[in-house]
Amino acid sequence: MIPLGDARRRFGFPWMTYLLLVVGLIVFIYERRLPLDGLYGLRPAELGQRIWAVEQAVGCLLVQGPGWLAPLVNLIYLWVLGSKVEDACGPYGFFFLSLLCGLGGVVVAGFLAPYLPEEARLYGLAGVVAGLFGAYLVLYRGEGIRTLVPPLFLVQVPAFLHFLYWAGWEFVHLDLAAVRALQFDRVFYPHWPFIGALFLGLLAGPLFARQEFLWLRLRGRRASHLPAQGA
């Protein structure tokens, strides 16, 4: 299931999303050569110990972790959700919303540190995406996400199902060696703190939305001319 989103926008080109995507891709490529875990990769128990906590948390938002599948899934969801949330919030509102959601994930991780395994690491982009999921769910209530279901089906899938699907990618770390060795603590990677980012997104989405967007939604114009399926 590959989310494609759509280009139906109300207020303009989502340049901030594309800027974040470019930065994310650069970091993704950079990380393949030189992992950032040493400085910015966040262990919840070590929050604020090596460098200043705020710096560490903001730096952590760019770190995407090892492997290539989960980071790419995160980047795809950043693209799909970001363009729509940016349309609703404006570029700067979207930027601060993403930042807050990412930080929120880190804060919750810090609070849950005693209950998480010591090996657990947090990669901040997942927090941003979780927050965007929350904002999307509240701002585009009832709207699905256009999705390519292999081989060739284009369907609208409810956003909440997408969230569950994405959470599956985040929580299950496909380390085949660990599966063979039956080390399930390495397979089920603890990303639960980012549920906090989801709730923060649900709360902060309406706070950062544009006035015009809320007004149009209040008038009930939102779905009047938008095709429901497969547009």
């Binding site: 280009a7 604020g48 807050l100 609070f111 706070l207 001319h225």
Partner: protein
């Protein structure tokens, strides 16, 4: 009509004529003659009540045509001839355009062939003598009847243009009578048949026109019209086949034509295939910008598909062009983008939203900075109080900032300031305003005006430069496309072309380069609002009235900006306290 009824009508007409009621007499006689055109008595009475010599003569001639021995008619004609020779010099003869027979200038019909010697004006319906070149009533240019076939052809076109297809067809019959090989008759006749609802005849006529067309370009245009007719008649399969043929031929020639894309867009729109219709409309507009109807249709499709921003851009483009469509486009923009009402802007939820952002950010920073230990610690610490105060300061600052900038109704004391002052305070404010006005030197005003003009000029220049640059990029993309085709068509790399053809089909060459062109267009979209420089120019006052308004509002503005500044200071201070 029964004989008895005709007799009754005749009696009625004679009584009316004898009593001087010519109109009613003419009506009754008209009914009699429609029922019995060979009624001698009716023609005679009609000649008696008609006014002009030409009409009288016509009626008497009809009597003689029915009964050459009618003495009254002969006498009447002799009387008319005598009057004409005695009263006026000999008038110029009217030449019949069909047979060339010189006729009496007052005659209605050609004495030789029976052709009417007048036509009805296509625009106003008045009678126009055949020897006149324009209508006396409305001034419509009809043409010179001495041109023969060309005259009737042009007249038919005028009839068609003014929505009288059947009369147009009758007129073109005369064209063919004069010149059976007259060009384009079948083509225009097809249009007239189509307009009059005779669809089969329209198609047959257009097929004949296609066969007769000598020029390849003309034949293509007629084939396109045939496809359009088939589309309008609902024969979508046939129409689609014809359109595909034309498209294939154009591609083979390496040409892209806006007219075909327009019709293809309409074809797909009629079939309900919005995506394809949008695609063709966009291609047509890329080739030719000045197509307001197509742009409007494209905007509607975009709107239906949910691309609201793009649709509004198209509507805005239309709204700048002027005309009826521009007004419709402006109305659509107003409907799509209604201004947010003042009541909504000033509702308390907006203030809560604004203050909530700052509070949330402060709280997160606090928790992040202090960590878990701080939140769960029970022992009192001075830093705890400082942090809490910082958080409250952030909240208060956020409230003031939001209320001052976006929801002023919730700014404390704001309503008092916006009320117009009265009494001595008002006089003092007025006097101060006048003092300030006097102090403002003329050179400063002139400087402002010049600065504003310069900013506008620069903004316009930049806009033109941007458009030219975008156009150049488009041309470069188009040139690249042509080069690609030429390289592909040259002999030395024919083999490579054969190998790459399959891949090229997969990618779609034209689509690829079109995509490149559209990509550049998207990078440089048409400006829909004022540019940055334009906005700066708008900030400058345009006249003394605006200046007066600013002075009157300065108290309120000062209060708002002051509140915003205090809010900002509180936010910064609170953040520092939270992070300390």
């Amino acid at each position: 009509m029964e004989r008895s009824r005709i007799r009754l009508l005749m009696r009625e007409a004679i009584q009316a004529a004898q009593s001087g009621n010519k109109n009613w007499a003419r009506e009754c006689l008209g009914r009699v003659l429609r029922a019995d055109p060979r009624n001698e008595e009716a023609w005679l009475w009609l000649s008696a009540i008609l006014d002009t010599v030409a009409e009288k003569r016509y009626c008497l001639e009809r009597v003689l045509a029915i009964n050459p021995a009618n003495a009254q008619a002969q006498a009447g004609l002799r009387y008319l001839e005598g009057q004409k020779e005695a009263g006026r010099p000999q008038a110029k003869r009217t030449i019949c355009p069909l047979c060339g027979e010189p006729n009496d200038p007052n005659a209605f019909q050609c004495a030789n062939c029976g052709q009417d010697l007048f036509v009805l004006c296509p625009a106003c319906g008045e009678r126009v003598d055949i020897d006149r070149t324009s209508c006396a009533a409305c001034g419509l240019e009809i043409g010179d009847s001495s041109d023969g076939a060309a005259y009737f052809f042009h007249l038919g076109e005028l009839y068609l243009k003014h929505g009288q297809p059947k009369r147009a067809l009758d007129t073109w019959d005369k064209t063919l009578l004069l010149n059976p090989d007259y060009p384009r008759v079948a083509e225009v006749a097809a249009e007239a048949f189509m307009a009059s609802g005779q669809r089969d005849l329209a198609l047959q006529s257009l097929e004949r026109a296609i066969e007769e067309a000598g020029d390849e370009e003309h034949r293509r245009a007629l084939r396109l019209r045939m496809a359009n007719y088939q589309r309008e008649l609902g024969n979508m399969e046939e129409a689609g086949r014809l359109y595909r043929e034309l498209l294939r031929e154009d591609r083979a020639l390496g040409e892209r034509r806006a007219d075909l894309f327009i019709e293809l867009g309409r074809f797909h729109e009629k079939r309900g295939e919005r995506e394809a219709a949008r695609n063709y409309y966009e291609m047509a507009l890329a080739l030719e910008e000045n197509l307001p109807e197509i742009r409007y249709a494209l905007a509607e499709i975009l709107l239906e598909q949910g691309y609201e921003v793009r649709a509004i851009n198209e509507f805005r483009h239309l709204a700048r062009t002027g005309g009826e469509l521009a007004e419709r486009a402006a109305a659509r923009i107003r409907a799509l983008r209604p201004p947010v009402p003042e009541a909504f802007r000033n509702r308390w939820q907006e203030t809560v939203r604004g203050a909530g952002r700052f509070f949330l950010a402060g709280l997160l920073l606090l928790l992040l900075n202090r960590g878990r230990e701080w939140a769960v610690a029970t022992a009192y610490s001075p830093a705890y109080t400082l942090n809490i105060l910082g958080l409250l300061a952030t909240l208060a600052g956020g409230y003031l900032l939001t209320a001052a900038t976006s929801a002023p109704r919730h700014l404390p004391g704001f309503a008092l300031l916006t009320v117009r002052p009265e009494g001595r305070l008002a006089e003092r404010l007025e006097a101060r305003r006048k003092r300030q006005e006097r102090k403002r030197p003329v050179w400063a005003m002139q400087f402002q005006v010049r600065l504003r003009r310069s900013a506008q000029t620069i903004a316009e220049g930049l806009g033109v430069a941007r458009l030219r640059f975008a156009r150049s990029l488009e041309r470069a993309a188009a040139a690249l496309s042509c080069t690609w085709r030429r390289i592909g068509a040259s002999r030395p790399i024919q083999s490579l072309r054969m190998l790459g053809r399959r891949l090229g089909r997969l990618l779609g060459q034209a689509r690829f380069f079109r995509s490149v062109a559209f990509f550049f267009r998207r990078l440089f979209p048409r400006r829909t609002g004022p540019s940055l420089l334009g906005q700066i120019a708008q900030l400058w006052p345009k006249g003394s009235r605006r200046l007066t308004g600013r002075v009157e509002l300065s108290e309120t503005d000062l209060y708002r900006w002051g509140a915003a500044l205090i809010g900002l200071i509180l936010v910064v201070l609170g953040t520092v306290m939270v992070l300390s």
